[in-house]
């Protein structure tokens, strides 16, 4: 799928795997029943008189329309109940990540002795169950990574939980599944599963301080970043920018996208998003900043791109 994994039928984890198996079983069941009904209609119209006479009995109606479905549905129900239990069970050794849905981005907090704040991109180690704690800051959202498992709504005032496990390393696309207004269609994110040791190294780097800008241009960019008020919404750890309204930009350049998974992260796309964000992601909450001269804009972008 063009390098994007977002399919229920291509499971990469045990939770999604169980559901995919169930789905195939249900398709088989459904095809069988549909075939039965079509055959019955055909026989009722064109069948031999003896068959039609049987079909026309009330007892047949009860058998085919009631008894058979009762048996089939009881079996299905039992499977469903078992699977529901299997999917909602919890173990202790799971990793915990808190994700808060907001119009129209994701705040991500990695649980630990000192919680680590990030946004719009989630990384998990391969093979380890992860418990997601899900919240909503404004309206209802829904957290869904099809290749790894089912979805659970994020509801203001409530906390929901979801356990996912990635069995293979890869980039899985997740998307908000509950209509949340405006650019709901563009509220997606990437979930990156990586080998344990890589994950640990990455997390350590994420927890670390943001390196200071090195070149002149980057330093000028940082000054502009602060003077233009970017820091009232965005935070960059270690600077005066400590806003909580928009995504945390610490280590921003190590993420893969700009505009909450709308465009791949390049200097050019970043530049476009700052000036023209309402065209790229109509309705998003960040005002367009067209106040900079082109030199200023370049400086600002190079500063942001230096936030490795």
């Amino acid at each position: 799928m063009n390098g994007i994994l977002q399919s229920v039928l291509a499971p990469h984890g045990p939770q999604a795997g169980q559901i995919a198996t169930l789905a195939w079983a249900l398709f088989a069941f459904g095809s069988l029943v549909l075939g039965l009904v079509i055959a019955a209609i055909w026989l009722a119209m064109r069948g031999a008189p003896r068959i039609r006479e049987v079909l026309a009995r009330e007892r047949t109606i009860i058998l085919l329309g009631l008894a058979l479905p009762v048996a089939a549905l009881t079996i299905l129900l039992a499977c469903g109940a078992w699977l529901t239990r299997a999917q909602t069970g919890h173990a202790d050794e799971a990793l915990r990540i808190e994700v808060t849905g907001q119009q129209w981005w994701w705040r991500v907090v990695y649980d630990g002795p000192a919680p680590i704040v990030s946004s719009n991109e989630i990384r998990i180690p391969v093979g380890q169950p992860v418990d997601f704690t899900l919240k909503a800051a404004d309206v209802i959202h829904s957290f869904w990574v099809p290749s790894l498992g089912g979805k659970i709504d994020m509801i203001p005032g409530r906390t929901t939980r979801l356990r996912l496990t990635a069995e293979r390393a890869g980039v899985y696309r997740g998307q908000c599944a509950e209509y949340c207004g405006g650019p709901h269609a563009l509220m997606s994110f990437k979930l990156i599963a990586m080998p344990r040791h890589e994950y640990d190294a990455w997390l350590e780097r994420l927890a670390g301080p943001q390196s200071a800008p090195s070149t002149d241009n980057e330093q000028r960019g940082q000054l502009l970043f602060l003077a233009a008020g970017c820091g009232t919404c965005h935070a960059v750890r270690g600077t005066d920018a400590a806003g909580k309204i928009g995504p945390d930009l610490t280590h921003f350049a190590s993420r893969g996208s700009v505009g909450i998974d709308t465009l791949p992260l390049t200097a050019e796309n970043l530049d476009r998003f700052i000036r023209d964000g309402q065209h790229i992601k109509p309705g998003n909450r960040m005002p367009e900043f067209r106040i900079f001269s082109s030199a200023e804009q370049t400086a600002l972008v190079s500063y942001l791109m230096s936030l490795q």
Binding site: A228, T232, G243, R285, P287, E288, F289, I291
Partner: protein, 370 residues
Amino acid sequence: MRIDPPVRIRFILLAALAALFLGSLFVWSGVYSVAASRGHFAVTEWLLTFGMRNSVKTHALGIDAPPLDNSDLVTLGAAHFQSGCAYCHGAPGIPISPIAQAMLPPPPDLATNMPPWRDRELFWIIKHGIKYTAMPAWPVQQRDDEVWALVAFLRRLPSLDAAQYRDLALGGLRVPPQSGESLATSETTARAIGACARCHGAGGARPASSLVPVLHGQRAEFIVASLEAFTSAQRASGIMQPVARALTGDDFRRVADYYAALQAPHAPEEPTDTSAIERGRDLAEQGDPDARIPACAGCHGEDALKTYPRLAGQNLPYMLNRLRLWKRGLAPGTATETIMAPIARELSERQIEDVAAYYASGGPSAGASR
């Protein structure tokens, strides 16, 4: 005496066609004179006036007038009347220009003969203008607040004598008597500053109307950017756009430097609601992250970009008006408005009042002294 219906219908149709043809012929021939010097027939005159009056009355029906007995509104309206209206409509002590008098219909002399319109009707006329007369529409259709200022002034106008009018419209400014030579040979250079000071004050004087922003001590970059935005009609104001257009690019910089160098004038002592100011301070310094409102200080503080305005000591009614305009949906036109408008839209009415009170009371500087 029964007429066969089809015959009657055919007759009417033919008559209509004939009338249409003759009418076209008349227009095409150019026999009719469009001269303004000729005037209308009395009956035409009556019909046009009658139609105009009723049109205004009907269209103004759904408009609710705000309270107009407000000296800020009157003063602002007066200043604009002087530059935008007096040429045609006259003013106490200022006769109508003979050129304007030769229009058809001639504009009414509002100083002496104010027609008996209701507030809402005046508003409608000023906002939309009147077809087939020289009465123009308000240059910016989104700024009803400015139109109301003019209506407020027109309500005061009949009671003014020439001196009172001068005080109101010129903000107490005195134009020094000029020598015959300078009158004869040069343009007056004091004009630009004089035009600004009428509303915005100058030197140690605050703006005459508190609906007008204090420019003293603003960054020159901000003032220039604003003037450019008015000139290019990006920023919506029927009052400022014509004023800014009258200046040249060089004037912008000079005016801006002049105001930037001025000391902020002393704010008038007004009863203050300290709890509102404290709430405003919180909002200005911390924002309201739950409501997605960033801290004001991030962009309006001392360290911020020079193209952003400083708010400390700004006029309270001006800030309230501006924030409410955005909240009600005024479309942002400039680059900085594009940033501010969505934030203002998220503010509650209470927050608007609080934060405006905070900055009007002096903002961070006042907090330090308290």
